[in-house]
């Protein structure tokens, strides 16, 4: 297979396969969790689990009173790399082009310089998070291989994308193949690693809010 053929494969069937694995895997993961079920609560409720569940889903997205430096760092660096990643993914003109060629849908792109900034910020926040994972004894103790693996999987598409745009390192076609594959690996990994938190976070928050809300407490 030549470089160009490989490129055609990874941006065509390769991407479709990884998307399918992502969607099916994530659906399985969510259904598997849901069907574990939970016991019916026989105590008289004092509040609405649904309403409190929805509120917790929303309110946990922000700072909370009494937060420490660790908390501020987590939330700020977390938002920075998640947003950096998402904006770069969704608003880079070539990504939009690819999406358009598939679905016919498109939207305005952000200028390349802005995209460079979002990608660099995303990478910087990820580096800060990694350094902190080693430096903070609490985080270091909690971390396992998946924390590091997921870090690598997340940073790779950003780094290879930047190299590609600024034509550094490998020949363009090879680098493009590497870039797309790095994204495909990330997609496939989401349902099978702790990266699935990007979806299950809403389930976890809802349960937390619902459990406390049943007793009339907004958690």
């Amino acid at each position: 297979m030549t470089g160009v053929e490989l490129l055609i494969w990874v941006r065509g069937p390769g991407l479709q396969l990884s998307l399918a694995a992502f969607i099916l895997g994530m659906t399985y993961r969510i259904l598997q969790t849901y069907f574990l079920g939970r016991a019916k609560n026989l105590a008289e409720p004092r509040g609405s689990p649904w309403i409190h569940g929805m509120k917790t889903m929303w309110w946990r997205s922000f700072f909370h009173p009494g937060m420490t430096i660790r908390g501020y760092f987590t939330i700020i660096s977390g938002y920075t790399f998640h947003l950096g990643f998402i904006i770069t993914l969704l608003f880079f003109d070539q990504h939009i082009e690819l999406f358009k060629s598939w679905t016919g849908l498109s939207w305005p792109a952000l200028p390349p310089l802005v995209i460079t900034v979002t990608a660099v910020l995303g990478i910087a926040a990820l580096v800060a998070v990694l350094v902190d994972r080693f430096a903070d004894p609490v985080r270091y103790l909690l971390s396992d291989y998946q924390d590091y693996l997921c870090w690598v999987l997340t940073v790779l598409p950003l780094v290879t994308g930047l190299l590609l745009v600024y034509k550094i390192w490998l020949p363009y076609t090879s680098l493009l193949v590497v870039h797309i594959i790095s994204f495909e690996i990330l997609l496939v990994a989401i349902p099978f690693t702790k990266l699935s938190h990007v979806f299950t976070i809403f389930i976890a928050r809802w349960y937390n809010g619902a459990i406390a809300g049943y007793k009339g407490v907004q958690s």
């Binding site: 609560n41 004092r46 908390g71 909690l142 406390a212 958690s219």
Partner: protein, 428 residues
Amino acid sequence: MTVSVERGIQTLKEHIDAPVASFFTTCVHCGMCADACLFYTETKDPKYTPIYKLKPLRRLWHQEYTFWGKLAAKLGLSKPVTAAELKAWEELVYDSCTMCGRCSMTCPVGNDIVYMIRKMREGMVAAGFAPSGLKAATERAITIGSPMGVKFPALKNQIKHIEADTGLQIPVDVEGAEYMALLSSMEIMNFPEYIGAIAKIFHNADISWTIASDAFEATNSGIQIGSSDLAAELVERVVAAAERLRVAFVISPECGHAYTALRWEGPNLIGRPYPFEVIHILELLDRLRAQNRLPVTGKIKEKLTFHDPCQIVRRGGVVDEPRRLLDMVAADFAEMEDHGIMNWCCGGGGGVSANERAAKLKLTAFNRKRHQLEALGVNTLVTACANCRITLEEGLEFNNMDVAVLGLAETLAEHLEEQSTSATTETP
């Protein structure tokens, strides 16, 4: 592996439900829960990070419900949860957790960590790993009827004193009374003033109430140790007495975990809803206040604050009632910086105070409350849980702090404006 350890691991597996799976799946190992836990903040020891206390349960979940975990288990590559590991976790699950639930309020991804600690304890006790102090308390609760070994004659004796002091009759085993009051052994032995206080208030409000001679104990060591079977047996005793006396309400006393046990866990433990309503004493007093059946006179002038018992407030949902009640009798009621549903635990809840091995750690954890009190600069602290009260008193004494600890019900009773013509007898 011994039979009990196998049983423990099986129990842990059975306790993995949808919330647990979603919590473990979602944890990003950020460590923010550490800052919510007084055992971490006062020691700075990373092992006291709340989610870390669940590591064996997390491993079981990983092996049973994740792709890589299952694959590794099939290939014989995963590290099984061992007796030694559970033994090592005993201190983390019992000594360094009061089940206060503060961690569950702060996790950015929404993990309800204390929900899982409660489940983790089920497996620990089934495996035979629970602190001896808590085991002994549970055994006394089952065999004698009280974790402190208090039998009815001891209560009767206290009742006699209270009757002599107050001139009021304390009703025992009155069939058809509207309310059945429960007590904690700690109240009976250390703070019998509570019984006198509710007697005065109920008499004034013309409430028909009773104590059951065969089920006066409200606390539930079964829940603290994590044994649903034993916890259910203790709840059944209360239910049987309430049914025998045909009461409409069962009053949970000034005790935090008793309220969780009776109000929130009880019906689930016995597998059926109650034929009566469980009401916390503070809820009842607040209802009386709203109906003008709790007239008080005079106010405490000096600045005071309220220590929220975790199981009544954050984990129980009785948040505003103590504040409304305290406002009636306090001229200068000031809140600590973190209060209400974000309060800091006294350090003795969740069975920690019954676990002698944890005594030193408990006093270290108390430093959190000490800092809060020092920052506010108060000499009077009101609370509504006998266990918090004894823990607070111990901590204050250890630190040579001149702070008086008062029970809320007693404080109200002291300010009661006695009515010659009793209020209405309608159901509150």
